[in-house]
């Protein structure tokens, strides 16, 4: 029985926190709430080298928010009672955040526990343990014990929790003995002159790091000031506030290049006149004139041999009718304007080259000036990217590009529903596309899934997303792929993802899960697919990440621009 370290930890020790501006407690005073949260963080600060600074931004490391029931993560609340709150382990985006059930009756001042209500301080201190990387502990009385135990008036962090946090971040004593350890996030004071520092200046303005030394714990220090969080009075602490840098002049950009005039084209070749059609007067008719038979005459149709065979000598005066009416007589052939012998011959189909297929797509046809609503291949993000029949399809708005072994197909992008005609006629975009293991093509448009067997819509489709086991509230998918690493299908949307069981046709039960699992790609991706090289590529905005399946993280933090590599711009 001892504390448990989950595995994730913060890379630095001067952390920031904030109370979410959009999800505040509906029944508590925000100012008093913030002071209780600050005290809960101080419990961990006193026991380790960590420091916590409140900032007024939702970009803080630890964002505290209050929500009810389902609040678009994998841990819905359940109203008053039972589940009180939860928090995420350290990481980017949602990592470190703590969510509290707004249906609970939160107590801001510790009272004795037999009354109704739950101490916010006790629960916050526990959740911040998760935010720092600690899992639940089975030691009864430990702060990280999963069940609520109330709070003692003179609360001191139990030993089990102290051991846990000091194993991860070191203790204050070591800091006093050895000085600051490189885990401290440097305070950036940019030199005012170079333009590149403009961006770092931006960083600075976003997060002035002020080393507070909280002494609120006892609250009875002779020169203790009441806790007045950020922003502080700059006159009082001049040396902590760097001067606001004056923004440098905008750089002047060179004039746009002027394009050369269009080349004048040679006159169009004159074609011979159209041939006039042969006269039709002596074309044999296929059917005899209709004859009327009076009552006494025998009607030929009544006895079956009323059609004399050509070999039979007949004395009838009806004209000869061939037995196979659908064979037409030969018409004169027209001079073919573009037969190979004609010097003006230009083949109208792509000429197959025998060049070796290249892995990287070739340049998109530059000479085509896109139609006004067509996306510019070299300056766009993508709605979906998929490998279908070993060819790369890139979707944007209602168009798509197609890149085969010999590079870009000419005359692309074309409209998506020219290839998949049974998609909605007023299609504006697709959300996700992937080729299933059974080689059918799944195209997600909003809340619907269209399944195609090559170009043909499979009966029973489109289907609603909820039929796949996805939540009714889900508006759309961001991406879908079959992950080569384990051959399973994954759906992505917002900050969560699902694993889809192709055999059952529904997502697996213990999903959705948080996107933090796919380290480095963040939330709200545009697309993901498995390329021919067996690597996984995530797309977001105009860039992409190459993903390392074994290490479950992107190969490099910075995105690479998509246009040069995938569109050959």
């Amino acid at each position: 029985k001892r504390f448990a370290v989950q595995g994730e930890k913060w890379k630095y020790t001067n952390l920031t926190w904030s109370l979410s501006s959009s999800r505040r407690p509906s029944q508590l005073d925000p100012h008093v709430t913030r002071s209780v949260l600050a005290r809960a963080l101080d419990v961990w600060q006193q026991a380790s080298r960590l420091t916590f600074t409140e900032v007024n931004s939702d970009d803080a490391d630890i964002v505290v928010s209050f929500a009810k029931r389902y609040h678009d993560d994998a841990y819905p609340f359940d109203g008053r009672g039972s589940i009180l709150a939860h928090a995420f382990f350290p990481g980017s985006g949602r990592g470190g955040d703590a969510h509290f059930d707004d249906d609970e009756l939160w107590l801001l001042q510790p009272k004795n526990d037999d009354e109704d209500g739950t101490s916010l301080f006790a629960v916050a201190a526990h959740e911040f343990g998760h935010s720092l990387g600690l899992s639940h502990s089975s030691v009864k009385g430990a702060l990280m014990f999963p069940w609520y135990q109330g709070i003692q008036p003179n609360f001191v962090l139990p030993e089990d929790d102290r051991n846990g946090i000091q194993q991860m971040y070191g203790s204050k004593e070591t800091e006093r003995k050895w000085g600051k350890i490189p885990y401290y996030r440097p305070i950036e004071t940019p030199p005012p002159t170079t333009t590149t520092t403009t961006t770092t200046t931006t960083t600075t303005t976003r997060r002035p790091y002020i080393h507070h030394h909280h002494n609120t714990h006892q609250g009875h220090h002779p020169n203790h000031r009441p806790y007045t969080p950020y922003p502080r009075n700059p006159n009082l602490y001049p040396k902590y506030y760097p001067e606001k840098p004056s923004s440098p002049e905008r750089p002047t950009y060179p004039e746009r290049p002027t394009y050369p005039d269009r080349p004048s084209y040679p006159d169009r070749p004159s074609y011979p006149d159209r041939p006039n059609y042969p006269d039709r007067t002596n074309v044999p008719t296929y059917y005899p004139e209709r004859r009327h038979y009076n009552a006494t005459e025998e009607h030929p149709r009544r006895n079956h041999n009323h059609y004399p065979r050509p070999t039979e000598t007949t004395t009838q005066t009806t004209t000869y009718r061939p037995r196979y009416p659908h064979i037409r007589p030969e018409y004169p052939t027209y001079p073919r304007a573009n037969s190979p012998s004609d010097p003006r011959y230009k083949p109208h189909y792509p000429v197959k080259t025998t060049a070796k297929p290249r892995l990287t797509p070739t340049r998109a046809p530059q000479h085509t000036t896109p139609a006004p609503d067509k996306p510019d291949a070299c300056n766009t993000n993508y709605d979906a990217v998929a490998l279908i029949r070993n060819e790369l399809f890139i979707f944007k708005n209602k168009y798509h590009w197609r890149i085969g072994a010999s590079g870009h197909y000419p005359n692309y992008p074309i409209e998506i529903n020219r290839m998949w005609t049974e998609l909605p006629r007023n299609l504006t975009h697709v959300d996700a596309v992937y080729e299933r293991p059974d080689r059918k093509i799944a195209i997600f448009v909003g809340k619907e899934l269209y399944l195609f067997d090559s170009q043909y819509l499979v009966t029973g489709y489109p289907k609603r997303l909820r039929e796949l086991g996805l939540p009714e509230s889900l508006e759309k998918l961001d991406a879908a792929m079959v992950w080569g690493h384990n051959g399973k299908t994954y759906f992505y949307s917002g900050s969560v993802y699902w694993k889809f069981d192709e055999d059952v046709g529904r997502v697996e039960l213990d999903y959705p899960r948080d996107m933090a699992m796919w380290k480095g790609v963040g939330y709200n991706i545009d697309s993901v697919f498995q390329w021919k090289d067996g690597k996984t590529y995530f797309f977001k905005g105009r860039g992409y990440w190459k993903f390392n399946d074994l290490r479950m993280r992107v190969e490099q933090e910075r995105q690479l621009p998509s246009a040069p590599f995938w569109m050959g711009c």
Binding site: Q6, G7, Y75, F77, G81, S82, I83, L84, A85, H86, A87, D101, T118, V123, H126, E127, H130, S135, H136, S138, K140, P146, W147, Y148, H485, N486, K488, E508, L509, D510, R513, M517, M552
Partner: protein, 100 residues
């Protein structure tokens, strides 16, 4: 008339179902186990029964109450207690079954 009033086994089945979802939510039992109702289907039921019992024992041990493997009063009280929403066992955080 008997179908109208829940029988003892119905009540225990219903009770087990809420306990099963509690065990699955907090990481003691993997989600997606076969439905409780067809427990009588041979050894699958038996192995499931074992998993279920092991999960209850693990919960009782973690919660610091007597380990019986049964859904006794202490276990019911523990399940009703207020608690954190994070699972107690984090296997669920590992993709494709690899342990950290």
């Amino acid at each position: 008339a008997s179908s109208a009033a829940p029988t003892r086994s119905d009540r225990s089945t219903h009770h087990s179902k809420s306990v099963r979802s509690y065990l699955q939510n907090f990481g003691y039992l993997k989600k997606g186990q076969p439905e409780m109702a067809n427990l009588l289907m041979g050894d699958v039921a038996q192995s499931y029964e074992d998993d279920f019992r092991i999960a209850i024992k693990t919960l009782q041990e973690f919660g610091g109450i007597p380990v019986t493997g049964e859904i006794d009063e202490a276990t019911k009280e523990l399940i009703k207690k207020k608690r954190c929403g994070r699972p107690d066992r984090e296997e669920g955080d590992i993709e494709d079954g690899r342990r950290k």
